[in-house]
């Protein structure tokens, strides 16, 4: 299968690989996908509570090159965006940017899901202010 140059670039030099402290109240974590499907993405955002702007984003992905590139690209795009702007990112934007072929569209869908899950986790924590949030990284079934 031929990969686009952008997919190869993200695979060779992934941006923002790593983890943020998942118990931090300002960090939202999304974990989507499943090992038996061949794709698992963990995407984290760190939001500045004063401004609502995403200061930092990190990812770790188990998946094909397109899944790695999709999540790497997502972290690049998230930084500097407000939470609402982040929620406006669509999987089709990722498909277009990375020139993903039809069989790889699910990778972009997963990245969009990961963004939404991370922000939902952040919002949940903010709503549950002062309470301990257990197992923030645990995905819902």
């Amino acid at each position: 299968m031929a990969y686009s140059d952008k997919v190869i670039d993200h695979y060779e030099n992934p941006r923002n690989v790593g983890s943020l402290p998942k118990d931090d109240a300002n960090v939202g974590t999304g974990l989507v996908g499943a090992p038996e499907c061949g794709d698992v993405m963990k995407l984290q955002v760190k939001v500045n509570p004063q401004t609502g702007v995403i200061d930092d984003a990190k990812f770790k992905t188990f998946g094909c090159g397109s899944a790695i590139a999709s999540s790497s690209l997502a972290t690049e795009w998230l930084k500097g965006k407000t939470v609402d702007q982040a929620l406006a990112i669509k999987n089709t934007d990722i498909v277009n940017e990375l020139s993903l072929p039809p069989v790889k569209i699910h990778c972009s869908v997963l990245a969009e899901d990961a963004i939404k899950a991370a922000i939902a986790d952040y919002k949940k924590k903010q709503g549950a202010e002062g309470k301990t949030v257990e197992k923030a990284a645990q995905p819902t079934a």
């Binding site: 190869i8 983890s19 090992p35 499907c37 993405m41």
Partner: protein, 408 residues
Amino acid sequence: MSIKLPIYMDYHATTPVDPRVVEAMLPYFTEKFGNAASRNHPFGWEAEEAVEKARKQVADLIGANAKEIVFTSGATESDNLAIKGVAEMYREKGNHIITCVTEHKAVIDTCKRLEKEGYRVTYLPVQKDGRISLDELKAAIGDKTILISIMTANNEIGVLQPIAEIGAIAKEKGILFHTDAVQAIGKVPFNVNDLKVDMASISAHKMYGPKGVGALYVRRRNPRVLLSAIIDGGGHERGMRSGTLNVPSIVGFGKAAELAKAEMPEESKRLSGLRDYLNDKLHKNLDEIYVNGSLEHRLPHNLNISFAYVEGESLLMGINDVAVSSGSACTSASLEPSYVLKALGAGDDLAHSSIRFGLGRWTSKEEVDYVADKLTSVVTKLRDMSPLYEMAKEGIDLSTMQWQTEGH
């Protein structure tokens, strides 16, 4: 010695034609171009003589009589001919066929077609080591069983089935026994009489011969196997396979068989040594890697390993100067991981993480070193970005996690 990139380590998919084979073939394209079925002039005689020599060379490799070799277009056709040919010929005797879940698609899909035509097929499961259980085979046999078709060596995991034992059971019960021996013949000793095999599918391009030619061994006595042809026409190959013989390729096939027979003892020892070296080196460098299928009952040149927490396609992308194949879904159009690895009960996640290495006649130790080193660095890099590896290291049991799988 310098290494030429990319490195080919996918000898189960196909093999290059040995230059000695090419040399043997060349005259049969031009000056010796006759039709082997032309009985009334020297062009035909010359071609026929070449075909008969090749037939003997192929027969000698498997301990058969030359008259028991039917040339085909390849092993897919051989599998079809054996299974459909027996099914039709012996329909009055019974309608039950026994095969196995890890067979090549040429066997499985042929059996599936027969099921639609009213035949009953038992697909035996395999044990964790990739081999069938002989007790389960015996239990599956009934009054209506006419054929057992079990491969000699698996194309993905290289596991050798207990062919001699299956042959003995089939003989005792009076059931015909076919084996797809494509990956094994020319690589490990294979004798149709020792193994009590009634039919065996062979392919030239898996043993340094040309593509587009293969054979079906069909036993002529004790018992004499009768087959209905699936290709009708001029009655070539004793009526079992019509069509003008592909003389240059058949000549190459014969030469490849002769070379395989002569070089097998030395070559298999060298390749199993390199394979074990690759396996040891990878195990030394990396944790949580697993060999799929039995190492003991295995082709000398095969290794199939799952690299836990790393997805196969991303792994292949990282070693793009090495030609290997993966059991990962993403490498095929089907989006399903390897059915062979799933049948071992390895779990889909490990099936997604697998790489098949096929070593061959021109694999060098330098190449093995290069591949092992490259894999080590790529697996390490990918694990550093794998959420699964991170979670496993934190002590989370991934098998008890509730994964969000909707929509995938």
